[in-house]
Symmetry: C2
Subunit: 386 residues, 2 copies
C-alpha cells in the first residue's frame, strides 16, 4: 500500500425529504446565491422545494450554467457574486453546476488579476467562498470532492482544478430526484461513476486489499442496480444505491494508497472538446481500447475484476482479463451506450493524430499509472476506439 493523506469534511444529508433540511446548514443571515443549469429543476419540483427550504434567507439566482461548465458564463456569475457581496452559494444541479460553483468559490476569493490563471496555472485553492449543493443528477461525485473540470469554448479546452478549500460544506442527496432523470442521463451517470472506479482500480496490484474490495463493491452495486434504475427510476431503493455509489466512486476514499490511471478521462475529455460527445460516453469509447492496449501492465487487476465483479472464475489470468474487458463493453451496451467513436460522428478520421498532437503541444508528462504512455500510444488507443 502506498502512503496517503485523506480528509473529506463534506457533510452528507442523504434520503427522502432531505432538501427541507438544508437551511440549518447555511449560516443564518447569509446572502445566498442559488445557481442552477438549464431549468429542468423548475419542471421536476426541485426548484420549489429548494426555494421553500431557503425561506427566510436573502436569495439571488443565477441559472443557465451549461453542461461542461463554460468559463465565459461563469464570469457573469462571478460579477454577481462580487457586486452583490454574496456570502454563500447553493449549487442545485449535477456535476456541471457543482463544478462551475467550485470555480466561482475559488475565483470569488482569488486576489490575482485574471481568474483564468486559476485554471491555466493550476492554482490550488486553499480557501474558497463557502457553498453547499443539492444534487439532481448522480454521476460525478463533485458533491463530495474538491475537484472540478471547467471548459472554455473559445479554445476548445477542458481544465481541471481543485484544492482543500473546494469541498462543499454540505450536499443534499435525495434519491427521489432520480425519478425525473431521462434514461440517457441515467445511463451516462452509471457509466461515469463506473469508469471513475475503473480509473482508480485498473492499474497493478499494490497490496491494498481493502481499497480493492471497496472499489469492487461499488462496481458490483452499480452493475446490480443499473437495469433497475434504467427500467424504473422511481424505484427508490435502486435509486438510493445508485446515488450513494456514484458519490463513493469519487469522494477520494478508494484512490488512497493505490496507483491511479486517469488516462481514459484525459483522452475522453478531448473527444468532448472536439465533438461535444457526452462525457460519460467518451469514457465508454476509450476505456475498452485503453485496457486492450495496456493489457500486459493491467492484466492481473483485470483478471481480479473479472472474477470478483463479473464472476468469471475459470480460465487463465489472460483469459479472465480478456473476458473482463468484454464484460465491461457488454455492460455499457446493455445501457445503450455505444463504445465506438464512429457511432457518434462521421468525422473521426484524423482524430487520433489531432489528440496526440494536442497532448504534445501542452507539454507531455506521460499518461497512465506509470506515466509511461507517450503521444504515440495515445494515437494508437484512440485509433483502436474508432
Amino acid at each position: 500500500m502506498l502512503n496517503f493523506e485523506f480528509r473529506n469534511p463534506t457533510k452528507i444529508l442523504f434520503g427522502k425529504g432531505q432538501i427541507a433540511s438544508l437551511a440549518k446548514e447555511i449560516p443564518s443571515g447569509a446572502k445566498v446565491l442559488m445557481l442552477y443549469g438549464g431549468g429542468s429543476i423548475k419542471q421536476n419540483g426541485i426548484y420549489d422545494q429548494v426555494r421553500s427550504a431557503l425561506d427566510g434567507f436573502t436569495v439571488l439566482e443565477f441559472g443557465g450554467i451549461p453542461a461542461n461548465p463554460e468559463y465565459e458564463v461563469l464570469l457573469k456569475a462571478l460579477k454577481v457574486i462580487k457586486e452583490e457581496k454574496i456570502d454563500f452559494m447553493l449549487a442545485v444541479g449535477g456535476g456541471s453546476v457543482i463544478d462551475g460553483v467550485k470555480f466561482l468559490s475559488s475565483a470569488a476569493l482569488y486576489d490575482g488579476d485574471n481568474p483564468w490563471d486559476i485554471l491555466a496555472q493550476r492554482i490550488v485553492t486553499k480557501v474558497g467562498l463557502p457553498f453547499g449543493t443539492v444534487l439532481t443528477l448522480p454521476a460525478t461525485a463533485s458533491e463530495m470532492n474538491s475537484g472540478a473540470v471547467i471548459s472554455r469554448h473559445e479554445t476548445q479546452e477542458k481544465f481541471t482544478m481543485g484544492g482543500p478549500g473546494l469541498f462543499p460544506q454540505f450536499s443534499v442527496l435525495d434519491p427521489q430526484v432520480v425519478a425525473s432523470i431521462p434514461k440517457r442521463q441515467l445511463a451516462n451517470g452509471i457509466t461515469d461513476a463506473f469508469t471513475h472506479v475503473l480509473e482508480q482500480y485498473m492499474t497493478y496490484p499494490i497490496g491494498a486489499l481493502l481499497q480493492d474490495r471497496i472499489a469492487e463493491s461499488i462496481m458490483q452495486t452499480l452493475v446490480e442496480v443499473a437495469p433497475k434504475v434504467i427500467k424504473d427510476p422511481s424505484d427508490y431503493e435502486a435509486a438510493a444505491n445508485f446515488m450513494w455509489s456514484c458519490t463513493m466512486a469519487l469522494n477520494g476514499l478508494i484512490q488512497k494508497g493505490v496507483p491511479t490511471d486517469w488516462a481514459v478521462h484525459a483522452m475522453g475529455h478531448e473527444l468532448t472538446a472536439l465533438f461535444g460527445i457526452d462525457h460519460a460516453r467518451t469514457l465508454a469509447i476509450i476505456a475498452p481500447s485503453h485496457y486492450r492496449y495496456n493489457f500486459d501492465g493491467k492484466k492481473e487487476k483485470l483478471a481480479q475484476y473479472a472474477e470478483r465483479v463479473w464472476n468469471i472464475t475459470t480460465g487463465t489470468t489472460d483469459e479472465k482479463a480478456t473476458a473482463g474487458i468484454k464484460a465491461t463493453e457488454d455492460f455499457f451496451h446493455s445501457m445503450d451506450i455505444n463504445t465506438r467513436l464512429s457511432a457518434y460522428t462521421g468525422e473521426f478520421k484524423g482524430t487520433a493524430q489531432i489528440i496526440s498532437q494536442k497532448f504534445t503541444e501542452r507539454g507531455w508528462n506521460g499518461l497512465g499509472e506509470r506515466k509511461a504512455l507517450t503521444p504515440a500510444d495515445v494515437e494508437k488507443i484512440v485509433e483502436m476506439s474508432y
Copy 2:
C-alpha cells in the same frame, strides 16, 4: 436504505514515516500536551519519533492513562490542561488513550460544575479542545470517529460519550507500529474491529447494497490478513491492511443508512466492568450466543455473511446462517480468543442475573436493532455464553 447524515472531517496521515509529518498539522505556537498510556511507546521508539516531530513546540506530557480510561486519572490531566492553558492535545496510543483525550477535549471547554455530567447526562459535545492522535494499536477506530467510552472504577461503570466536536483534527497511522504489538493485543484488535463491523451489519436487510458490500469487504480483509499479522506483525503489507480495516470499521461510513445493533457491546462492557476481561474478548464471548438467540431476526443477514465472507454457498438460509456463526467462532478461536466466559473466570455463576438487573436499574430502552430485547433476553444470552 434509511435516511442518514454523514460527516467525518478527520485528516488521516497514513503510511511509513508519517509521524514525522505531524507538526504541520498543529497550529504554530500551540502549547501541546502529549498524552499516552503505560509507557510502551518509550520502548518501541514511538515516543522518540513523536518528540522529535514536535521539535519547536512547547510540549508537556501526561503519561499513565490506563486501558479502559479511568475517570479519576483523567481528572488529573484536566487539571494540567487548565493550569497550563494547553492549546492542543496529542494522544499517542490506542483506543483507550484516544478516548481519554476525547473526554478531556470536552471537559476542557465544559462550563458546567461537574465534568462527570458529560458522561452521566450524555451531553453531546459540539466544540472541544482540538487534538490529534498518533495511533499505536489498531482496533477501535477512535482515531477517526467522535465517540469515546470512559470507565469509573469506583462505580464499576462504563459510559459512552461523543459529539461532532470530538473528531480528531488529524490522526497519524503508521503501520510500522504494528511490529511491536504483542500477539494478544493483535488478536484483540482484529476481534474488536471485526465485531464492530458485525454490530453494524448483522441485523436485517434494508436494501443498502453498497453499505453491506463495504462491511463485507472490511471483514474479508480482516479474515485474510489476520493469520499474517499474528504470525509476523512486521509484515508491512498485512499490517497496513489490518490498520486501515480497523479504522474503516468504525469511522461512521458503514453504519449510515442501515439499522445497527450494538447489543454485543452493551453486554460485553458489563463483563469488562465485572471481571476486567479485555474488551475484545468480551465481544467474542457474547456475539455467538447473541446471534444464536436472535437467529430468526438475523438469519437473512447471517446467511448473506456466510456466503460472501466465508464462501459458504450451499444449504438453506438457516443452514448457511448457522454455519456463518460457527465460522465466526472458528475465526476467533484461530487467534486464540476463547469464546466462553468460563474460560476467563471461575466466578461466572449469577453473572447473567447481575447484568440483566443492572440494565433494569438503569432504565430499560430495549437492546438490539429493533430495541426489542428485554432484560430477560439479556439474561438468557449471557447464560448461553457461560
